[in-house]
Symmetry: none
Amino acid sequence: MTDSADAPPRRQKAAGKRQRLTAAAARVLHEQGVERTTIADIARAADVPTGNVYYYFKTKDELVEAALTEHVSHLKTLTDQLDQLPDPRERLKALVAAWVGGRDTAARYGCPTGTLAVEVDKRTEGGLDLAAGRAFRQLLDWAESQFREMGVADPDGLAIALIGAYQGMSLLSNALRDPEIMTREGARLTRWLDTLT
Amino acid sequence: MTDSADAPPRRQKAAGKRQRLTAAAARVLHEQGVERTTIADIARAADVPTGNVYYYFKTKDELVEAALTEHVSHLKTLTDQLDQLPDPRERLKALVAAWVGGRDTAARYGCPTGTLAVEVDKRTEGGLDLAAGRAFRQLLDWAESQFREMGVADPDGLAIALIGAYQGMSLLSNALRDPEIMTREGARLTRWLDTLT
Amino acid sequence: MTDSADAPPRRQKAAGKRQRLTAAAARVLHEQGVERTTIADIARAADVPTGNVYYYFKTKDELVEAALTEHVSHLKTLTDQLDQLPDPRERLKALVAAWVGGRDTAARYGCPTGTLAVEVDKRTEGGLDLAAGRAFRQLLDWAESQFREMGVADPDGLAIALIGAYQGMSLLSNALRDPEIMTREGARLTRWLDTLT
Amino acid sequence: MTDSADAPPRRQKAAGKRQRLTAAAARVLHEQGVERTTIADIARAADVPTGNVYYYFKTKDELVEAALTEHVSHLKTLTDQLDQLPDPRERLKALVAAWVGGRDTAARYGCPTGTLAVEVDKRTEGGLDLAAGRAFRQLLDWAESQFREMGVADPDGLAIALIGAYQGMSLLSNALRDPEIMTREGARLTRWLDTLT
DNA sequence: AATGAATGAGTTTTCATTCAT
DNA sequence: GATGAATGAAAACTCATTCAT
């Protein structure tokens, strides 16, 4: 009631720090790659002392997983918005439009989920952690639902084709440093969605 | 009768070693990822003393680039074989079949070129090394030639769509550890190629 | 009565460690030479774990520069003391006396500033780092001030002659392992200072 | 008589290689410093295969000593020429003029003998190799002879003063990257020689 | 003697993780 | 919880020296 200005409630501060770390990890890990990013990098980006990170995340792997979850959560926010569109085909086309909207980031750093997935996969030698897989599941399920609602055949195959196309175009766009690949491939996907019956 | 087993020809050893190192690098870097693979790992896989690696490759980056080139060279070998088929459409379908044939490796480690490209991209901070881009160029050009020979519109767009689809399905197949994704997507691509006019 | 021996004050430890490292570097680099001294040598001399050195100095070069600065700072302390003498000629003669006082060290290891300067110069290939130059600037300026105050002609030329003579006699004394060279040359410089008008 | 073009006499070739290595070592070690120069550097500069170096010099130390000797031998050549001047004072003044003539090299790399001496001294830890000392002995002796012939008092002290002045001015000139220091100090030394009686 | 290649010990540097306060 | 500092196990890279022809 009285000390809110000088001493913000601990409960909130801690949660805020965790969130800041997660957001910083999501951004920095995407930009620099998992293996080339140090805990200190993330701590600095989140404006948190290095040693303090370990009160929120026991290991680097936990931070990586949190970052992956953060990206998934961004996708959830996006699909939640798209769900407000009445037509499933329009929802999918809007998803493609969102991808194209992120073309500059994709050309520079690739798809956050995709590039993280590639690296995370190598980190879990032998073991089937599959954190990378989980990251895609949700989006695949959402896309499949849309296709199903559209009444087209093989909805889960189409979902894989669509998400796969996005991963592929992001990867090529990134490797060739050419955002226009996203634009052109996005247009092609949109046309494709229109032809499905 | 011959002493080839006991006394391997010294003359060829040097060239052979470089090749052994390149091949080992291509394999191990693909399996473990660039950043998690040490020079010692590659040396061991090639049965070469660690220090000796540097006689053939001045830096780890050079080894990575050699590995990338090795993968590209594998693709060249493949497309050279496909070129013997009379019909460009058949060549492309055979390419897809080859991809599907590698589904188990893709599901376990992803596409060699693609996963290396993602990591190589993060290694060249800010700089436009584009080694990753060069790795794709040749295959894109080859695919474009086939589409052009088929007389379809937008051959380079189709080339990007095709290679992108492969990258995407490899990535998803890897993240979900599911080789069947390769099979199903391969079938879809084959059908797609058949519909092009 | 006090636990100072068992539990050294942590608060001061950090600052103290950096100073200990700098002092150790100054000594060891002088005695062994820059290139033949390892970070581990310095760490051991400072009683600091090797890895911890990098918390205070990002590279070996930074340690070398700190050592050079440390030697310069010793000279500053010396000239500050000499400044308390009323007569500039006496100050210069006292400086020479101080040099002669360090004859055994000079005969064994050379002038700290001079020998470090020689090696530092070779470390900065092509680049104009001039850390070595900066190391001499202060002493040259101080000597020049004294000559100026004495009212003699060409004070900066004389400063160079004086400091140069010290460097030369240290180098010869070291190469010939003969401290007496310092004594005799010191006497000659003193006589020379007395003749200046 | 017949194969001179295709197969030069072995006896000469070997001697030529040794000489080339010595000359290359003298130059490269001066420019880069002893510790930063590799055997391979010297071999390359002499256009000799790396492995072959060891047929002429058993260790790096031997090469360093040969380089030092080479520099001393240059000095001998110089003093032999100066000996043809009738007046010892003129000989000494001509020596100073020669030093000034090498001012650009001195400003860039320091005095060959002096900088090598500093580094060689650090290489013989504890042991009294004194190769550095021997390098100066000859020049000191020659200068002392000149002073003696001039009939001035304390000829060996003056020799040390003269050679020391050269070492000092080279070192400062190098540290400050200023060849003019050589010019000015040279002029001062010349005047000083003229005043001696 | 000649030579490219091999060797292995050593050096700088990095960093996830832990610790003391 | 918070924080700067500590730690130690790698990892990349270097190079004098040796070796097999």
